[in-house]
């Protein structure tokens, strides 16, 4: 039980995928302009990342390892992620139209989120078990959502702040992200 808590804490704060490992930066910069879209993206990513890390673990353990095809893991994980995203999109569209309206636009975007692939690949390099893999994926997604929501809250304020002209828009966003990353370095050594 403590192992899982340690993994959760480590993925959310210490080894945060966005601010410490610098994965998934495109949605981090891209959909953080509004708090609502950031929450939608966070929810969709949490759903897909957890599912994708479980599926990639299964594919890796039951297909690639027995056939000694570990070198194929990148391409097969990309396949798995694309299918999981597409399947999740269809499933949500059918079962919960309201949720689909909130998440809909962001679901296809997750296919290209490198954090999803990063989690799957790190699960294999760190030789995680099944439960560790799913907790690792879930924690990574929580960490991603956390910083995305924090960052978008800051950007909403920056939009009305008196920023010097050369720093307006994406530039001040990058600087803010850098400062957040510095702040998250404070968590290193926690676990």
């Amino acid at each position: 039980m403590t192992d899982f808590l340690v993994i959760l804490l480590s993925t959310i704060l210490v080894n945060n995928f966005v601010l410490v490992q610098f994965l998934g930066l495109c949605p981090f910069m891209g959909v953080s302009n509004k708090l609502e879209t950031a929450i939608g993206m966070g929810g969709a990513t949490t759903f897909v990342l957890t599912l994708a890390s479980i599926c990639s673990y299964l594919v890796h353990t039951w297909i690639l390892v027995p056939l000694q095809l570990e070198f194929l893991r990148t391409i097969s994980f990309i396949l798995v992620i694309a299918v999981v995203v597409q399947f999740a999109k269809m499933f949500i569209e059918k079962t919960s139209p309201l949720l689909y309206r909130v998440l809909g636009v962001f679901l296809p975007l997750i296919t290209t989120n490198c954090a999803v692939l990063g989690v799957a690949l790190q699960n294999t390099t760190k030789a995680h078990t099944f439960f560790e893999s799913s907790v690792y994926g879930f924690g990574a997604a929580l960490g991603f959502s956390l910083v995305l929501i924090l960052f978008s809250a800051m950007r909403e304020r920056l939009a009305v702040a008196d920023v010097p002209a050369p720093f307006k828009g994406a530039a001040i966003g990058m600087i803010t992200a850098g400062l957040m990353s510095l702040a998250f370095m404070g968590f290193s050594g926690l676990v």
């Binding site: 056939l67 000694q68 095809l69 194929l72 097969s76 396949l79 597409q86 269809m90 569209e93 309206r101």
Partner: protein, 201 residues
């Protein structure tokens, strides 16, 4: 078979990836059939809440186009025939705050209206027939027209085009089928304390 594959990497890779792609393709194909969505279900639900007067006061040709527009993010307070009740119901469905009715599109009518053609004055021009969104007006060119009261939604659209102004909007008559008790007026003396306070003041 498995032995052969584990010794030869190239065919093993082909079989593994091909098999994976095949299985995933089958899963997606199954999902596409199983989870097929016909139309936009949210539009259906919205359309069911709208009053189906097809009056066009919202600025759209009918209730369904307006439902579509709401699904695409239009304001939900443009339906005068539905009034506040409809706005509240839509707000409940979409989980948003219920706004007041937008006065720009018309006011909510206290009594339900129905169109009535003064038949002696009708010249049979068919203009009101073309204007009626629910085909509630009966008649032909140079023949007298009349309104099928049961079909009329009271949308007002036939009044404007009539060249001789022979169409009136009258209050719908109460029949035995739709008669109901009047609601008590909110400022009446409903309970004993009302009366005591009224007397004291």
């Amino acid at each position: 078979m498995l032995e052969f594959l584990s010794q030869h990497a190239l065919p093993a890779a082909l079989v593994a990836l091909g098999g994976l792609a095949l299985v995933f393709g089958a899963v997606l194909g199954f999902a596409a059939v199983r989870f097929k969505v016909e139309g936009d279900p949210i539009v259906e639900q919205l359309d069911a809440l709208l009053p189906q007067t097809q009056c066009g006061q919202c600025g759209y040709p009918g209730c369904r186009p307006y439902a579509q527009a709401i699904a695409n993010g239009d304001a939900i307070n443009k339906c005068p025939p539905g009034g506040q009740t409809t706005i509240n119901a839509i707000a409940g469905l979409l989980d948003v705050e219920a706004p007041e009715l937008d006065a720009e599109h018309g006011e909510e009518q206290a009594v339900q209206k129905v169109a009535l053609i003064r038949e002696a004055e009708c010249i049979g021009c068919t203009k009101c027939i073309q204007a009626c969104p629910v085909d509630a007006i009966l008649g032909a060119a140079k023949q007298m027209h009349t309104v099928i009261a049961d079909e009329c939604t009271g949308c007002d659209l036939c009044v404007e085009p009539c060249p001789v102004d022979c169409i009136d909007m009258v209050a719908r008559e109460t029949t035995l089928k739709d008669w109901q008790w009047e609601l008590p007026s909110p400022n009446g003396n409903l309970i004993a304390t009302d009366r005591v306070q009224g007397a004291a003041a």
